[in-house]
């Protein structure tokens, strides 16, 4: 009862959010039902491939939500969110790796294959505990959060902003990529972590597991959406937006701007980490490529195309752009990056408020005419 009124209050005046949540809830029902209970011969059957594909999109949507919180609401143009996502992914990857147990090629009960291959005899200390699902998930969020905290603490206190901040974050994700490429780091080098077998005892390849993962991801996305909406509506959210628009005014009112920026950045990194952890079971692999600087830029493009500072715009942007990417790369893979770049320029020039901003402007005009 109370949670119901909380949801209603949170979504007050947020039409886009209500539509989004309705669609997500419907998907959480339709995808598994039409995948598991409608026979493959039927036209209504949804293939496991599609369940996996859209599951991935939901993870990207969560990541976009994280970026919108930092960029759209606090003006922190992070070009390093791919790093938080990848770190979360490695957290999940390490758990799944340890779940393989002695079913690996080398049959070592403790060491993952790549360690045996490197002639390692014992597990590095930082792999301890990752056989525990709860601990691994905690780390998948905590490590990105900690990195964001240390980075934010240093950067925001020294008042690094704008393009400098963006470039440093690009460098950060690039440095992490190079580090994770190294075999000695103990994260599987350039092959990354893969060949996963099961998650909390359920076979990762089975249709049912995929469907359940899809539903869990959808529900987490809804929950995080409500959480973010609640945050941005609070006094904290209004302070953060004011810092974005009039930073020095807020300082002179007496707000410690750096504390607010760090808080938002950490929160955003935690969400990105969770998104990364959810992503890995769908794709079955995590490798240093996820740290590629280009990935972080793509996230910014999703949010810009969907529409900044609305939250649901970020979700829409992530899903649409990635769907387009899937379609495009199937036909003309080499053109995709140009198309994405062109789209970004088009949106920046003609739709500064993104797709959702465009639609609400159109609606406004229609109302005025009527």
């Amino acid at each position: 009862m109370q949670s119901k009124s909380f949801i209603i209050e949170t979504l007050q005046g947020d039409t886009g959010g209500r539509i989004l949540i309705a669609v997500l809830l419907a998907s959480c029902l339709i995808f598994p039902v039409f995948n598991l209970f409608v026979p493959e011969s039927s036209v209504f059957h949804i293939s496991t491939y599609l369940v996996t594909l859209f599951g991935k999109y939901l993870c990207f949507a969560l990541l976009a939500l994280a970026l919108d919180l930092a960029w759209g609401y606090c003006g922190i143009l992070s070009l390093g969110h791919g790093a938080f996502f990848a770190l979360g992914g490695y957290g999940m990857g390490m758990y799944l790796m340890r779940q393989i147990g002695d079913r690996g090629v080398y049959g070592d009960p403790l060491l993952p294959d790549f360690m045996v291959f490197l002639n390692w005899t014992e597990l590095p200390w930082y792999w301890n505990g990752f056989n525990n699902f709860g601990f691994a998930m905690l780390m998948a969020a905590f490590v990105p959060g900690l990195l964001a905290f240390v980075f934010g603490w240093l950067a925001f206190r020294s008042r690094v902003t704008g393009v400098y901040l963006s470039i440093i974050l690009q460098a950060l994700t690039y440095a992490l990529m190079l580090a994770f490429f190294r075999n000695e780091m103990g994260f599987g080098g350039n092959n990354g972590l893969t060949d996963f077998k099961d998650i909390v005892g359920f076979n990762l390849q089975s249709d049912v597991t995929r469907a359940v993962l899809f539903v869990i991801t959808g529900l987490i996305l809804i929950f995080v959406y409500l959480f973010c909406r609640h945050i941005v509506k609070s006094k904290f959210g209004r302070v953060v937006v004011s810092i974005r628009d009039a930073e020095s005014r807020m300082r002179f009112i007496g707000y410690k701007v750096e504390n607010y920026k760090t808080s938002v950045f950490v929160l955003s990194a935690l969400i990105a980490g969770i998104a990364g952890a959810l992503y890995v079971p769908f794709v079955g692999i995590i490798n240093p490529g996820e740290f590629a600087p280009l990935n972080s830029i793509e996230i910014v493009i999703w949010v810009a195309i969907g529409g900044r500072s609305t939250l649901y715009g970020a979700v829409l942007g992530a899903i649409l752009v990635n769907y387009a990417k899937t379609r495009f790369t199937a036909v003309l893979p080499e053109v995709w990056l140009f198309a994405l770049g062109g789209l970004f320029i088009f949106v920046t020039l003609f739709l500064p408020k993104g797709l959702v901003g465009f639609f609400s402007d159109v609606k406004e005009k229609m109302r005025k005419k009527a």
């Binding site: 937006v241 004011s242 009039a246 005014r249 300082r251 007496g254 410690k256 808080s263």
Partner: protein, 283 residues
Amino acid sequence: MSRFSKMFEGWRGERQWSAFSPEINSREFIDLSHGTLLYLENITVSFDGFKALDKLDLYIDKGELRCIIGANGAGKTTMMDVVTGKLRPDSGTAFLGQTVNLLNMSESEISEVGIGRKFQKPTVLENFSVFDNLELSLHADRSVKAALFARLTGEQRDRIEEVLEIIGLKTERERIAGNLSHGQKQWLEIGILLIQDPYLLLVDEPVAGMTVQETERTAELLTSLAGERSVVVVEHDMEFVRSIANIVTVLHQGSVLAEGTMNEIQEDPKVKEVYLGSTESSS
């Protein structure tokens, strides 16, 4: 290196207030027993060798309304930057009362201790309503945690209403600040300062771009605020300065050229030579 040590300074200061004396507002340490609120002594600020402030001495009494005039580039805004922590001077001292050393504090700490500032270019929170602007500026806990769980108390609501009344924006409370007229924005910004209950208001060019009526209202407003608190007004508009000031300070090339009543200032030969002569002929 210096940036790093400053970073730690701020951190230490913050810890002191929050960890050892959570309930005590640092304002309570201000000692005004000598009747003087602000002491600026021997302040020098240079930009690439150019001295924007040159051994400036300035004292503001408790409850005083002081006007500061001076030609463009005289250093008026720079003086405010120093007092509010935006700029660190090359040399000199700045104290609030006998005890509070402003040069050790960050902008937010200085604001907490009771110095409010209106910018030369009116700056309000454009995306929010007039009411929200005041709510976010209320003298209250500024921590992240407090903001996450904040709820307006009846007392705070009354305080906002009171300030709305003072700045004459009662009927505009729901309007988005970005849509206010220029004059209304200036008043709102004064309200933003006022609601922080400051000891000292620094007001940079409050009537620039205002109509005659608006200017008169602003004069009334600022005069009514002095007494309980000190108000320092920087202005170019001589009529306005004459209508509100007891004591006027003339800044010239970063230091005080003359100080006194408006009449004394106008008779001062040095002032005639470098300042009033030129403005009077131009306006």
